[in-house]
Symmetry: C2
Subunit: 353 residues, 2 copies
DNA sequence: CTGAAAGCGCTTACAG
DNA sequence: CTGAAAGCGCTTACAG
């Protein structure tokens, strides 16, 4: 292994000089000395030891990202990771990832081990739903600077403004003239986005003086695909069926789309408007649905910024940041058209095919 | 910061004793001593410094994962990451991730910096297509134990057996009695999976004594969604149209599905059989397509195993490992049925709705 | 059963 | 402009 000492030897200087020249003090040295050292380092293929550096400086230069092994619990959007990277790269920080199996989190012994032995200057915790209290306690006990991602807490967290996003979707449909607008969620997850989006929807409906229609699996349990399609068909067959629907996620929106188009002969984007939520516009279901987009990249960036601040002042609670989502138009919504109006007169929505 | 020294002080022993008891030599000590030390460590919230440990032992205990910022170049499947984690966790290794922007890779100065200063015992390189030669050189120059993921090289690599997967899809359709089987790829990527799957298809067709039909964008350029649907319609309208098709990816299969069902009134799974490739079975397009599944998890595991071996003997080239893919049946293929046979007599394929 | 001592590779005041 | 020396927190032969 090539060390500072070895370079010093080859270049005929002291280790301290090598360190200075290779570090922030090179301007103090004669060009000739600098050159000799640079050459030696280059020739020997010198790689500084981050560990040694970390030990001296007290900073590891790394930030940890904590994920659950449960995919639904801590899916990390691609652009979110990008945002994290870009933020860290600007400060020359590395990212260390760990997945904690849920079972082991309750196991007293395990968490301390991974949390303790894992040297990093701070933690990004992307552990969405059901964060075990034991984990929260441990993080406090060991005083690890941490930011919670996609978790709704008053301080030290960054998350999307799901309530506003619920309003947003509803207001979009209201502005198109729809009055019978339903909320649908077939997934029964326990993430706060489910209740917040619905509450935003309810809020917007109430403000517009309209009565809401909430379609959710009663038990909160997840229902399977066939049921989703059957259920969609059912509520859409009602004579006073909604003309528009806010769907919690694509896994709710697609069955609605399929039931409408394949079963009932309704054309989505004309006879039925759908707005849903996702991390990007996609048309895999055969049509690009109007989608409220997660501010993935910004979430990542914001989390890093907060974490840096946290590392500098670990005791100081930072007010949480709540980021806005944005609507991206697909082809699944259109102006409300009373059924008796000649359909030929309606604005044909663009289709991707 | 709590150190071994501090614990020693509190427990009334020497630092060496603390280190021994907290490490692998605790069995040599009196239960009473052990207890005192354990208690002190617990009470003080001791967190061992990974940096210090790494410095003494010469092992960082971390493995690096190198990704491109270009999403298409180094997408990492969820289960692949799982496999990597599980493999590393068994050996108490951490994972450090870095994304290298493509532009900077050609820039002489940048690569060395991140590659050099980034202490890890070895590297998993998931940088699929167009690996810059400069990068390969640097990794050799700095003698970093590395394994290439999803890259077809004779040694030190792990990748899926795409040629076999091309044969597999074709043989599945052959076994259902199909004779006019096409290969389609609309994406124009340059990953080896594109040519290998096609070659596997060609091989299987030749062996069966059948003439192949290859549908690919001529220039190798990516074509857009509308074009894909139009193109699909075009070749499917031919009187001697294929009764089955092997589609390179879902982005090829879905437009074919849409063209067949929405434009031509063909029912996929009855009038047209489709086999495609993906990392999992999905039915977002309205139907679960027969899919050849990537051995994601195994790829991750295998890569870690190879890397561990590489770290132990950095100079020893390891023969690459080529892992098999597996077919998962959806509802998009069925026995070949000559058009003149009464359709009512055909086996109705299961549909998800 | 326990501890004194050396050293991993680096940086940083400090002295010259 | 350059270098001797101390020390970051840990582990590991070695001695007792």
């Amino acid at each position: 292994m090539i060390t500072v000492e070895k370079i010093a030897e080859v270049a005929g200087v002291s280790p301290a000089t090598v360190s200075h020249v290779l570090g922030r003090r090179s301007h103090l040295y004669r060009p000739e000395t600098r050159q000799r050292i640079a050459q030696a380092a280059q020739a020997l293929g010198y790689r500084p030891s981050a560990s040694a550096r970390a030990m001296r400086s007290g900073r590891t230069g790394a930030v940890g990202l904590l994920l659950s092994t449960e995919p639904h619990r801590s899916s990390l959007f691609e652009n979110e990771l990008m945002g994290i990277y870009d933020g860290l790269a600007e400060r020359d920080l590395r990212l260390t990832v760990a997945r904690l199996p849920d079972e082991k989190l309750t196991n007293e012994g395990f968490v301390p081990k991974i949390l303790r032995e894992w040297s990093s200057d701070g933690l990004l915790i992307n552990y969405n739903a059901m964060i075990p209290q034991a984990m929260v306690d441990l993080i406090e006990q060991y005083n690890i600077p941490s930011i919670w991602m996609n978790s709704k807490r008053p301080t030290d967290a960054v998350y999307p403004d799901e309530f506003a996003a619920g309003r947003q979707a509803t207001e979009h449909l209201l502005s198109l003239g729809h009055r019978r607008i339903a909320w649908a969620n077939y997934s029964g997850g326990e993430h706060f986005s489910a209740s917040d989006r619905r509450d935003g929807y309810l809020d917007a409906m109430q403000q517009a003086g309209l009565s809401p229609q909430v379609i959710e699996s009663e038990t909160g349990a997840k229902i399977d695909r066939a049921e989703r399609i059957a259920l969609s068909r059912q509520w859409m067959e009602a004579s006073d069926r909604p003309t528009a629907v806010v769907a919690y996620a694509k896994s709710t929106a697609v069955p609605i789309l399929l039931a409408a188009e394949a079963k009932l002969g309704l054309r989505v984007g004309r006879d039925l408007s759908i707005v849903t939520y996702d991390n990007r516009l996609s048309d895999e279901s055969g049509m690009a649905l109007d989608t409220i987009i997660m501010p993935e990249y910004d979430l990542g960036r914001a989390a890093v910024e907060m974490l840096i601040q946290k590392i500098e002042a670990p005791r100081e609670p930072i007010p949480s940041r709540c980021l806005p989502l944005s609507l991206e138009r697909g082809a699944s919504s259109s102006k409300f058209m009373p059924p008796d109006v000649c359909p030929g007169g309606s604005l044909e929505p663009k289709r991707t095919f």
